[in-house]
Amino acid sequence: MSMLSEALREAFPEELQFDHRQHPSRVICCLLPRERFAEAAKVLKKKYALLAAEWASDETLLGKGFSVYACYRWGKEYLIVRSELPAEDPSFPSLTKKYLPAYRFERQMQSLMGVIPAGHPDLRPWIKFEDWPQDCYPLRKSFDSTEPLPRVDGEYQWAKAEGEGVYEIPVGPVHAGIIEPGHFRFQAVGEMVVNLEERLGYVHKGIEKKFEALSWHDAARLAGRVSGDSTVAHSIAYSLAVESISGLTGCNIPERAHWLRALFLERERIANHLGDIGAVCNDAAFAFMLYQLSRLRELLLRTNLRLFGHRFIMDRVFPGGVSVDITAQGRDEILAEMEIVAKDFERLVEVYEESSSLEDRVRDTGVLKPEKARELCVVGIVARASGMNLDCRIFNPFPPYDQYDRLELDVPVKVTGDVHARVWVRVEETRESIRIIRYILENMPAGPISVAVGDPLPETAGFAAVEGWRGEIIYWLQAGRAGEINRCMVRDPSSVNWLGLEQAIPGNIVPDFPLCNKSFNQSYSGHDL
């Protein structure tokens, strides 16, 4: 019995029910009346649980109204609290006062699904721009997603800072560099930022809605395009979630497939970390590191293309396994490549460490304090740079990560929460990933690399969490009456970590923003969906 569900049972002995259609079995789903939705949050918060995700599902095709879901994490446990809402009155008590990340989750739920978080302090639409008809709710079943939306007049209400000498700097959505679009509004006094407000949603592509129109198999390609830099991690998370409800148990997926997935995942992690460390240094006017590290990154991408047929290993992971194997020669090639990368990487890390001008820019800049990080329930690199020891590879592992005693995965945790800490977590993770890749190549079991998986059983729900290079990616899938996709909830790490950036900026000078932003490097596409 899990600690979290035990706490709920104590608090609501009469009302608590378990929803046995949630899989895999270690993810417990509790059903509570909606009046208890926020009270449950209070109980779980006392137990130090973190809020991992919150979402709604339109269950009219399942003969119900709507349901709201909140997923909590504590150590190795994931617990989902579900409350049903009648279709005529889809309101529920807001969690925002207990859990800060609910602030954006709930704005999004209201904007796209039309469920109403009662007591939420700020119900400005999110992702749904002011020029959308305000009564359209794309995630509802009654919404026809193939029709273009008309544009209406409207204006976004920005938060306002007042006082002598406060001025505003709006930036974006089209930025100076080659990066994704988003809007940032700074309020500054002199050079000092007093407030930053983000506005995201520019690259909203209706991904969650699109999932519902695809077959389980085809949807793997879509999952691989939620955030192109994390294509491997997203396809693994999607596939694991499907596999949890496809009538098979996880262990029927061939071992070798799991190991190959891990190999791809670690390669993706290294490639992105190399790019990010370089980009952060470049924003601190140290272009040398960018050029050197992008060279190493390019080597990895080329090997990927040669061995796996795609530079980012896109579309190679799907429910049932993977579509490309590695030969003995390929293995040697990667081992040799790792040798070169590891050696050059260490030299570059020394340069980073010894450069005092760089140090001056990255230390104590863009600090996200550990208390703040916890309050915001951030994940991944951002969390580990601010004192939180979280990593799905350890706390929610799939093979081969479940063999800790052999793998001895070491996750770096820093407490300073500044740009340097986020860079340093990446440095240590890169080293760790190189080590894991060697381990995988030397210990990978032989055998088939995929099996056929059937469609999921009707009216079941699947779940998976995977540690991508940014952090924990969550997929929650619900099969409809005919076994089709009724809902696919995607929670990219960016959905929570963007809040972290907003909190880390005040107190910094305006020119340091690009540097801080790079050190977070969150996904716009993964957030906007």
Binding site: F143, V174, I179, V203, K205, R225, G228, G275, D344
Partner: protein, 174 residues
Amino acid sequence: MIRILRQIFRTGIVTEPLPPEIEAGILQVGERLEETIRKRFRRSLTIRQVDAGSCNGCELEIHAINNSFYNCERFGVHFTASPRFADMLLVTGPVSRNMEVALKRTYDATPFPKLVVAVGDCGCNGGIFGESYATLGGVDSVIPVDVLVPGCPPPPLALLSGILTAVDGYPGKK
């Protein structure tokens, strides 16, 4: 400092020693590109990149043409922060409804010749996202496009040759 110099020295110029077939490709594309740019754009082609809804995969490959293997700057290709200085827009993504206005504005702010290269399967025809309440499909559903570079994402070499094709066709553009 010594370490930096040593590493630079040790690395050498990676732009040169590539597998011959790829290097030949880059050089061939690059030389023609350089010549055309010299003739028609006074030695420098300035590009503004616009992400109009991409998944960021295409952006990663556009970054890659700046790395020392492809080193697009040696052919006179630069990226700029402002559309006002741009000769060309490199646009990715199925155009999202929420980016449509910003894309049009960027196009309007770009001076003649306003070359437009649509990048990736999404930029060409909306790709996997297609047309929906949230996406309008390919870039040409919003602004005129000169060249399409398909691929998901297109590799760096395909991007370089797409840029070349657009530059090549330039005199014909009104």
